[in-house]
C-alpha cells in the first residue's frame, strides 16, 4: 500500500510497488538499465519520486528487492518435505514450492533476466543472491539433521537445478512451464550420478 499527499489529501496508490516494478522493467528494456533514472520510472508509473523511494532504496532494488523473500521461499519450501525425505526428494519438494511463487511472473521474470544479462555488475549481484540462497538452504538442511558436506552439496545442487530450469523458463524459445523444466533438470542431475550420459 502507498499513500501520496495531494494538496491536503492523502491518496492511496493501488499496487504502487507493482506498477513501479513494471515501469522500471519496461524502461530498463527500452533504454538500458544505466540510462534509466528513478524520475523516469516514477513518471512512467504515474507516481511520484517520493512514492518510488517509499518502496525502493534505488533502482537496483527494483531488481533485487525481493532477494530475502526469494531466499525464504527455499527455506520455507524445504519445511514442506517430510523429515524422512532423502535429499533429492527434499530438493524436489522445495523447488516445486519455489516454482509456485513464480507461476504468474513469467513475463516479468523474462524482462528482469534480459536486464541482468546485459549488465556485468547486475550479474555479479545475481550470483551473490544465489550464493546466499545456497547458504541459507544448507543451514536449513543441517537443522534437519543432514550432515556436512552433504548439506552444502545438496543446497548447491538445488540452486544449480533451479537456476538451470529458470534460465530455460525465461528464454523465449521454451514454452514449457517452470515445474516441468525443474523436473527435467532434476532428471539431468539424477543422470549425472547414475552413469547415464
Amino acid at each position: 500500500m502507498s499513500w501520496r499527499i495531494v494538496g491536503a489529501v492523502t491518496r492511496w496508490e493501488p499496487n504502487a510497488r507493482g506498477r513501479l516494478e513494471q515501469a522500471a522493467l519496461e524502461l530498463f528494456g527500452e533504454h538500458g538499465y544505466e540510462q534509466t533514472t528513478v524520475d523516469d520510472i516514477a513518471r512512467r508509473a504515474g507516481l511520484t519520486k517520493r512514492t518510488f523511494f517509499r518502496h525502493f532504496a534505488d533502482k537496483r532494488e527494483v531488481l533485487f528487492g525481493g532477494a530475502d523473500e526469494f531466499k525464504q521461499l527455499f527455506v520455507d519450501g524445504l519445511t514442506g518435505a517430510p523429515a524422512s525425505a532423502a535429499p533429492l526428494e527434499a530438493i524436489a519438494v522445495t523447488l516445486e514450492a519455489v516454482a509456485d511463487a513464480f507461476h504468474d511472473r513469467r513475463e516479468l521474470a523474462r524482462r528482469r533476466q534480459r536486464v541482468i544479462m546485459a549488465n556485468a555488475e547486475l550479474q555479479e549481484r545475481e550470483l551473490v543472491k544465489l550464493a546466499g540462497v545456497a547458504a541459507a538452504l544448507a543451514a536449513a538442511l543441517r537443522e534437519r539433521g543432514v550432515a556436512e558436506p552433504a548439506a552444502s552439496i545438496s543446497a548447491e545442487t538445488a540452486v544449480a537445478v533451479f537456476r538451470n530450469a529458470f534460465e530455460r523458463w525465461v528464454a523465449a524459445a521454451d514454452r514449457r512451464e517452470l515445474p516441468e523444466l525443474i523436473g527435467e533438470s532434476l532428471d539431468a542431475l539424477r543422470g549425472v550420478t547414475a552413469g547415464r550420459r
Copy 2:
C-alpha cells in the same frame, strides 16, 4: 622471468611473480587488503613497483591473475576422461587433475582464502570466477556430446563439489589433502541422488 634495469645493467629477478604473490598475501593478511598498496608489496618482495606492474595490472590481479589458467585446468582435466565416461566419472577425473595443480599451494591457498573471505567485493569476484569455470566446463561437455541440460548441470555440480572440498581444504581444521576431500564431496553428491541422508 623478470628483468630490472640497474644503472646500465639489466638484472634478472628470479621468481619475481612468486615473490610478489607471497609478499602480497602476507601483507593482505597482516594489514588487510584495502590497506595494502602496490608500493608495500614491491618493498616486501625486495622488488620495484615497475617490476610489480610487469606481472600484475593491480593488487587485485595478484588474487585473480590465475583465473584463466584455473578455468583451463578444468577444461584440460576433462580431456583426460575417456569419451565413454559417464558424467560423474568425467567429473571425478577432471577434479583429480585440478587438485593436482594445487598440491604444493595449500598455505598460499589458505592465505588467499582468508583475504577473499574478509572482503565482500573479492567474494563477488570469486563467484564470477567460478561461474566462468562452470560455463567453460559446460561448453567442453557439450563438445564431448553431452546434451543440455545435462552438460550445464554436470558442470555446475563439478564446480560445487570442487568448491566444497577446496573450502574444507583451506580451513585450518582439516588436515586431509584435497583429493581425499574431493572424494568425500563426490560421495556426498552420490548420496544426494541415491536416497541416502
